[in-house]
Symmetry: C2
Subunit: 262 residues, 2 copies
């Protein structure tokens, strides 16, 4: 019964549409066709990603290059969500992010910073840059740290890499402050994706490979959530102590098959 | 009455003997003479430091250059304490430490590592080195992380710097593990300093500028502890919610005056 009364689908991207690899990524079999079938069916579609190593423009360019019929307007990502918060609260960020993410902040006033925004800066996580972000934070009367995600680590073809969450913890400890996390599994982030689709949570299904950030986060917002057995899925996820998906599916194509049959 | 029945003194070094500065350090007025008076009095003396940016040899060379009559045999520091633990437990470290600390680990087997030892690596805290230490840890069945201190940050002449504790938190979070901290305020560290002096805690006084790591840590071991109003001392320390020194003194010279008068 989990596939009943659906009007919109939220898709995680890495591990659902494609697997990251040496050449930038390999599409998961059947996923490009599944995206086309979702669109043809009239269901609303939203890509809901924690990607912060690229702007939406270059991210979508990569996906289109792999055969996915998606557009920038269909992507919910942490950097634009953070920009919304910055404007709303009159915050001027000191940015410690990946070079390729910088275009997302082009319109934001960055003079005389009164907060720090931390993303997966990768090679930009230098000793000098970390000290600089720390000094900006500790110099504030009440430090404001906004983190684009809270991941622990991820896998690239040349090995595991520390993710933004580890650097967030370093700055949190040094400044005795708690970061505000933008991105999955934050409730506000899912809610903005739903608002952009114009679909209430009870008529939406999240499909992802991450048991905590995708499945748990979406369920907290009142959505149904499926875990695909692709990407970072591991059999041990099926014994997770806190989170139980509404269903497991082998991949996105199977999920779309079942949903469109209703 | 706090100065009665003393047989040994433990001194913190930075902020008690000297202030770190552009030229490596400036002795605090009266401290070199105070060290000479302690020795002449027959009291046992131990330098109890969390210094991990230099080997004891080069650290003592610097202190002697500033006029302090001290020797390597009088120093209790985290790196030798860590070496003791490594040998005791058959641990072979992957080291992420300052280049100048490496000589302390010269005799330690570092092949096929089964733990990570983290010090204040300063410029060695690169993205590549942090990822490498992380990969070594996450590859262990049960990750063992030994941290030489848990400081948040410190001040150098060119500004504040993140200390080892921040990087410890990053690795703790990424690997879901708790570090074992070697150095002040660890009880075991103070106890080894006392054992090296051959003085029981109730006959020893710790003198330091750090209300938590020096004063609080020493009191937890049953020692008396003084806070000097030099180094990182701040007036707000006198309202610390948890730690109250046995006495405040303006500087080391004043402490030695009072103790030797008994």
């Amino acid at each position: 019964g989990w596939a009943r009364a659906v009007r919109g689908l939220l898709l995680d991207v890495s591990g659902v549409l494609y697997d990251s690899g040496a050449d930038g990524g390999v599409p998961i079999a059947g996923s490009a066709e599944a995206v086309r079938r979702i669109k043809a069916s009239g269901l609303k579609l939203r890509l809901c990603t924690n990607e912060t190593q690229a702007s939406r423009e270059s991210f979508v360019r990569k996906l289109r290059g792999m055969g996915f019929d998606v557009s920038v307007a269909e992507v919910t990502a942490p950097a634009p969500a953070a920009c919304h918060i910055l404007k709303e609260r009159g915050l001027r960020p000191h940015l410690l992010v990946h070079d390729d993410l910088m275009p997302e902040f082009a319109e934001i006033d960055k003079t005389n910073p009164n907060c720090v925004v931390l993303g997966d800066a990768a090679e930009n996580f230098t000793y000098a840059n970390l000290n600089e972000a720390f000094r900006v934070l500790i110099g504030m009367e009440k430090p404001v740290l906004i983190s684009l995600g809270r991941g622990r680590y991820y896998k690239e073809t040349d090995g595991l890499k520390l993710d933004v969450g580890a650097y967030m913890k370093a700055l949190e400890y040094a400044c005795d402050v708690q970061a505000e996390v933008v991105g999955k599994p934050s409730k506000r982030f899912f809610e903005s994706a739903l608002a952009e689709m114009g679909v209430p949570p009870e008529q939406a299904i999240m499909i992802g490979d991450d048991i905590v950030n995708d499945v748990g986060g979406a369920q907290q917002c009142g959505m149904r959530a499926l875990q695909v057995r692709t990407g970072k899925y591991r059999p041990s996820d099926e014994n997770h102590p806190d989170v139980k998906p509404d269903a497991y599916v082998n991949n996105l194509a199977e999920a779309v098959d079942i949903i469109l049959r209703q």
